[in-house]
């Protein structure tokens, strides 16, 4: 049974202003990031280290004041916000509206006189889109304790996890605690200007799937457009490659000096965050062990539901482990898909390697340590499994990753490799 865990505070689709008045009262509680504001104007370097999410929190506070008819205070706060973040275009837009409202009625967000707007209509629309998407993500919050269904199991080795909801232009950062996965931050993001589901090189789309952060690039080596840093992810992953997808260089990165935040659909395919938010992620997460799920729309479930879903797969995985432990090659082979492919080898070519593995193991029991399972559903159903394969009597073993797919009720491996 699907569990829609999104807390919709109310259903006024037509007018977000009513959403503002009611929903925003709860935004401050929902927001987990600190809203402390720097008191003095800061340099660009300082702006990268300002509290993550603080610029957005201050903008939302201004919206709340406007909704409460406290225009004077809103103006003062907008003044301060634009002094601290002069390149936060949306803040400048709201500040302009608040100033203009002292002299004339302001009817919409960005009520720019026609003469001044000429040629920049697209920019204005992008700013309005950004505003709408930011608000929506703050009003429609996941229920406490809910997690994206893609994170079926995470191990203590996965200290953090990242999930991107492209339709909400939002990145969610989780910490993996003893009690389970906990949402600790969420940030506004920009995705590819051509939208989603990257397929080929140069299509300006953001890929959809389950990935891992592969490295942390030295900001000094990066061009200004990438901002304060970059975390590349492993697009194309094995599933992407199997489907013939091409392209590369999909990173999580920051914004250029001249632009604090970018429109919702603006990038070449990368996932872009404001520099303070990116810096917070870089400081928190570990390379290689942090999964990054990018979905058109995240599916949030309670921890309990996640437990139920894993059973069928866990049984398959366990059966594979047992067969391998017992040295039963034929049984083991049953778990491999006919279209298996790894390191350029098909299944017949892979079989001798497997046989060798079993021989070396000499029937010792195999344990799967630091096991993580990422569940990806699109046209097919895929499980990306990572574990340390440790033989009984040994302390460590190779770190392995398998890609499984469900074919007519049966789970089968179509890739296996050491990472």
């Amino acid at each position: 049974m699907r569990f829609d865990c999104f807390m919709r505070l109310h259903f006024f689709a037509a007018s977000i202003i009513l959403t503002l008045c009611f929903g925003l009262a709860n935004v401050a509680n929902a927001k987990k990031t600190p809203a402390s504001a720097p008191q003095t104007p800061s340099t660009n370097a300082q702006r990268s280290t300002s509290p993550p999410g603080s610029a957005e929190a201050r903008l939302i506070e201004i919206y709340q004041l406007i909704a409460q008819s406290q225009g004077g205070l809103a103006l003062a706060k907008a003044d301060a916000l634009t002094k601290d973040f002069p390149n936060f275009q949306l803040a400048q837009l709201v500040y302009g509206d608040l100033l203009a409202s002292r002299v004339r009625p302001v009817k919409t967000l960005g009520d720019i006189p026609e003469a001044q707007l000429k040629g920049s209509e697209a920019t204005l629309q992008q700013l309005r889109d950004e505003s709408q998407v930011r608000l929506k993500a703050l009003i429609e919050r996941p229920q406490t304790g809910a997690i994206p269904s893609e994170f079926l199991t995470l191990s203590p080795a996965n200290k953090h996890a990242i999930a991107v909801d492209a339709s909400r232009s939002r990145l969610y950062l989780f910490e993996n605690r003893a009690t389970g996965l906990v949402l600790i931050n969420d940030f506004y993001i920009s995705i590819g200007k051509s939208g989603l589901e990257k397929t080929i090189e140069g299509d300006f789309r953001t890929p959809l799937g389950v990935y891992f952060i592969t490295s942390n690039l030295d900001p000094k080596s990066l061009k200004d457009i990438y901002g304060s840093g970059a975390l590349p992810i492993n697009y194309p992953n094995i599933l992407d490659t199997k489907r013939g997808k091409t392209g590369k260089g999909i990173w999580l990165h920051g914004t250029p000096t001249a632009q604090f935040s970018r429109p919702p659909k603006a990038t070449d395919g990368c996932v872009v965050l404001a520099n303070p938010d990116l810096m917070h992620i870089i400081k928190s997460v570990e390379v290689r062990t942090t999964p990054v799920v990018i979905s058109k729309r995240l599916n949030w479930v309670s921890l309990g539901t996640a437990q139920l879903t894993k059973k069928p797969f866990e049984e398959a995985l366990n059966a594979w482990r047992l067969a391998k432990s017992n040295g039963e090659l034929d049984k083991v082979l049953n778990f491999y898909s006919p279209d298996f492919s790894a390191y350029g080898m098909n299944l017949p070519q892979w079989t001798p390697l497997l046989r060798n593995d079993l021989k070396k193991a000499k029937g010792r029991d195999i344990a799967l340590k630091d096991l993580s399972m990422l569940h990806w559903t699109d046209a097919g159903e895929t499980m990306v499994v990572t574990f340390g394969e440790v033989s009984a009597g040994r302390l460590t073993g190779p770190m392995k990753r398998q890609y499984w797919t469900r074919q007519s009720q049966q789970w089968k491996i179509f890739f296996e490799g050491v990472i």
């Binding site: 919206y63 406007i66 909704a67 004077g72 275009q89 002299v103 967000l109 204005l124």
Partner: protein, 356 residues
């Protein structure tokens, strides 16, 4: 024990001195006492004291103002509105009653009435009107800059800085101001004009959610205007020498006003004669450029001339009037004095100033 020698005469002198002292400060004490009662929330007592005082001096603006404050503090909004309204009728030059009317209207969610009242408060002093209009120009320019930043347009394309209006002389009414009450009465800050509601999203707005009313400050008793100071003295009306001359001057002014409204720069600038001295040491050319910018930059101008008095002396005339100016959504009222000179059959403006 030494007897202090107090003669009858000296005692009597002391008594008279004491009485004089008491009576001259009695008035100040009365206002002070009532104010103190208000601050102590003793509204019934304060009202009684105020009413007793007003029996002898029913027209006194200071005490009537205090009475209005008492009524408002006691929650008697209707009575307070009546009190302040009557004050604005009797003393239209005082900004404080208008301000407090605005506060009362605002609390009754009558925002248009509040706005009108505040605009009247500003008009009581043409200097406020000028500062207000200048502030509006500055806000417009700041808004324009912010919009440029939002759209990432080069800010230099915004054009030259706005030319703000200079005030050439201090408003005389301010100069006459003398504190009539002791400094112990705090003058609360005047309520700032509530900005119009801004909707930060592009979707058409549904009726705005009811907002908790801003808590504006009520102005305490005015520390200006002794009882002797009446409204500014009426303009000196010299005997009109020729009816036709006055009518011609009036026609010239009306034509000038119409040209201004219509943004007809040819006829507007043409109303000023060769001897016209532009304000602030500007050359004629620079002044004309400034006027063009200011006038053509407005989308809709409405100009009204009221209370026009003209005095003609040969081929010279002086016109004084109330100028009501509305442009975009600004409205400014000022007292104008215009000197004209007749050249040929036409009257031309040689001097234009704001104030008496």
């Amino acid at each position: 024990m030494k007897h202090s020698k107090i003669t009858l005469a000296s005692a009597f002198r002391l008594l008279i001195a004491a009485t004089l002292l008491i009576s001259s400060s009695a008035q100040a004490d009365e206002y002070g006492d009532v104010s103190q009662l208000i601050r102590a929330d003793k509204f019934a007592e304060a009202a009684a004291r105020a009413d007793a005082y007003l029996v002898a001096k029913p027209r006194d603006p200071q005490m009537r103002f205090l009475k209005g404050v008492i009524q408002r503090s006691a929650g008697k909004s209707a009575e307070a509105i009546l009190t302040f309204t009557k004050l604005t009728e009797d003393f239209p030059e005082l900004p404080e009653p208008y301000n407090n009317l605005a506060v009362l209207y605002s609390s009754q969610v009558q925002f248009e009435k509040a706005r009108t009242a505040l605009e009247m408060a500003i008009r009581t002093n043409p200097s406020y009107a000028t500062a207000h209009e200048n502030l509006g120009d500055i806000y417009s320019r700041l808004a324009s800059q912010a919009y440029n930043s939002a759209l990432q347009i080069d800010a230099n394309s915004a054009g030259a800085a706005p030319k703000l209006a200079i005030i050439k002389e201090v408003f005389k009414a301010n100069l006459k101001a003398q504190p009539a009450v002791s400094a112990s009465i705090p003058v609360a800050p005047v309520m700032s004009a509530a900005p119009k509601a801004v909707t930060p999203v592009p979707t058409p707005t549904a009726p705005a959610a009811p907002a908790p009313a801003a808590k504006p400050a009520v102005v305490a008793p005015i520390p200006v205007q002794t009882a002797a100071t009446a409204p500014p003295p009426p303009a000196q009306i010299k005997p009109v020498i020729s009816d036709k001359a006055s009518k011609d001057v009036e026609a010239a002014l009306n034509a000038w006003a119409k040209a201004w409204e219509a943004k007809d720069m040819v006829n507007y600038l043409g109303a000023y004669g060769k001897e016209f001295i532009p304000p602030g040491n500007q050359t004629r050319a620079v002044w004309e450029q400034e006027r063009k910018k200011r006038i053509l930059g407005k989308s809709n101008i409405v100009l009204k001339i009221q209370n026009l008095t003209i005095s003609v002396n040969g081929n010279k005339a002086t016109a004084k009037f109330h100028q009501d100016y509305r442009a975009n959504s600004l409205s400014v009222s000022s007292r104008k004095t215009i000197d004209l000179v007749k050249s040929g059959e036409q009257w031309f403006i040689t001097k234009e100033s704001t104030g008496n």
